[in-house]
Symmetry: C2
Subunit: 352 residues, 2 copies
């Protein structure tokens, strides 16, 4: 197809979510605008890129780092370009390919644009989707980046023993709901926190957590944690940071572990909340590890071997919050920071 | 000897360092007083205790935790008893024994009293000293608790690779001087901080550190660290906590490690200093471990195999600050908190 006369190729409209400019505070819907350009459904002659039709886009809190001027040198190069479409993880179908590893019609997941069609210059970074008996949107979550995060944390980084007492924050979110269910499958006692009663009910009634609580209704996190963990916490899977992390450090068991894959409470405040219980890391001989999925993509085949059967046998459920339409993507993304999403936040661009 | 008529046994004077009462602030000399009691140089009839003559006592910062009412539940049971002598690690000679594993004349190290003679009820916790071709006082330091700490940190917990860039705080102290020298033997780049110029000179000129600086003369720890670690720190062996730890977290390499075996800057302040860089643990995917020697006593035979040759071949030097006389012990201990000691602080009670 790459050799076809370019003039004969269909040119279609391409709706896009454009990044307006760098921000300092929390993301707002007005940081983006929707535009419609046109695109030829063909890769440039001689290119080894692939052209995809986007199906599902993953709304992830970490995208907001890319909306800022560089704060952390380790994030340099990830910044969005004002006036261009944003990108992130998503599921897409190959429309044209200059890479022999990808054929027209293949389904992939990986970094793609927030637009209807994207030209992906480095397709070697993509994962090809081989199993389509599960919802395709799952490749933005349980079988995508959030899935790698949860799988690596529980099965590789800090693997609990039966009976361990586990605490999960952001427990109904993309990663938390998986961590909690995996730990339950391992025979642990699992408590989750979330930001409203509906999420708490989900954790207790649908996801099998032993207990759950609404952190917004707790005046003193230390008191809340002592209620559910009178003997202390073995493993804390951390996603929020700040005051909650500080309270957890004061409620860990000796030799306990803290795995931190995010600190969403700290992302959008001018000054990070300060912690006073850091000395408990010494007193209680804790191990704390920071974590990103990027270091663990090699685990993906093992993840599929473990998690696909869990999905098919309904041992694990995955709760998604799918908004329809690319144009609703920015609101869905911004909603993450106020906890508006109910489960993994996805934007559906197209269904096939 | 245990069956000998108790009336015939020599009764001697026993000078003791008595703990006055629980404190809230930093330890002061007036928290102790010296008294002289008498003691019969014999264990009670039927006892399996041992009676020792104390030679060298180890002045350790952590003793101060035992001068307080319980703050951390994990330290419960370790508190000193007002009106009784304090205890800590020391080197002693067995004078009488009800334990078949210990004979009169044996040299031991382990927990003993700050007094001339001590009755040790649980001698099974003691280490018997087998190698006396090195200074006996070394068993309060390089071959004692500080030695286990340094050995386990460098050879077991976070073992550096050749060329790693290492930062050590309290670098001329009991543990820091060993960590730095062990890392140099492994081919690392090692920088230490200390609290005066004399200590800085010691690190650079006698202990082989690549660089050293006086933290009291640095207005901005971040600037100081960037001077010595423009490419970041691979491993931070942490003993001070607070502002220095916070600055280090902002100067670690991705995947760097922080081993914390103490946070002396935080021990005696009403409210712990707060940290604002904790999120760097996630951003840089750091591993931070709290540590106590107590979890690593099983390594002691390996330590002797490694470190005794280092001492004998003068590959490692060990700097001690030995005050003569039990009565000078409290001042030596209190001096730790203002950095008055030059090297490992020891109090010599007797030399044989």
């Amino acid at each position: 197809m790459a050799n076809k006369n370019i003039n004969s190729v269909e040119e279609v409209k391409n709706k896009q979510v454009i990044f307006r400019d760098y921000v300092t505070g929390p993301p707002k819907e007005s940081d983006f605008y929707i535009t419609t350009s046109t695109i030829k459904l063909q890769i440039p002659p001689g290119s080894d890129a692939i052209l995809v039709k986007n199906l599902f886009l993953s709304a992830d809190p970490t995208l907001q780092f890319r909306m800022r001027t560089v704060q952390h040198q380790h994030l340099a190069g990830y910044q969005y370009t004002p006036g261009s479409p944003i990108n992130g993880f998503g599921v897409a179908k190959v429309v044209d390919s200059g890479d022999p590893n990808f054929s027209v019609g293949d389904l992939i997941w990986g970094t793609t644009g927030w637009e209807e069609y994207s030209l992906i210059q480095q397709p070697q970074q993509l994962f090809k989707i081989q199993h389509t008996d599960v919802p395709l949107s799952f490749y933005t979550g349980i079988l995508g980046m959030a899935g790698i995060t949860a799988y690596a944390l529980v099965y590789e980084i800090f693997t609990p023993r039966k009976g361990d007492r586990i605490f999960v924050t952001a427990a109904s979110g993309a990663v938390g709901q998986l961590i909690g269910q995996y730990c339950k499958l391992m025979g642990c006692y699992v408590v989750g926190s979330a930001g409203n009663q509906e999420k708490v009910d989900l954790l207790k009634n649908k996801l099998g957590f032993d207990h759950a609580f609404n952190y917004k209704q707790e005046h003193d996190f230390d008191v809340a944690l002592k209620r559910y963990f009178p003997e202390g916490i073995d493993i804390y899977y951390e996603q929020v940071g700040g005051k909650m992390l500080d309270a957890v450090l004061g409620n860990m068991k000796v030799h306990g572990c803290v795995a931190s894959c995010g600190m969403i409470s700290q992302y959008n405040i001018a000054e990070p909340e300060t912690l006073k219980n850091v000395m408990q890391i010494v007193v209680r001989r804790l191990t704390m590890k920071g974590f990103t999925h990027r270091d663990h993509h090699h685990l993906y085949p093992k993840l599929l071997d473990t998690v696909l059967p869990y999905i098919r046998e309904k041992k694990v459920v995955y709760v998604e919050d799918i908004v329809e339409g690319l144009e609703n993507g920015p609101a869905a993304f911004v909603g993450l920071f106020s906890g508006r999403n109910f489960g993994k936040q996805v934007a559906a661009v197209a269904h096939e």
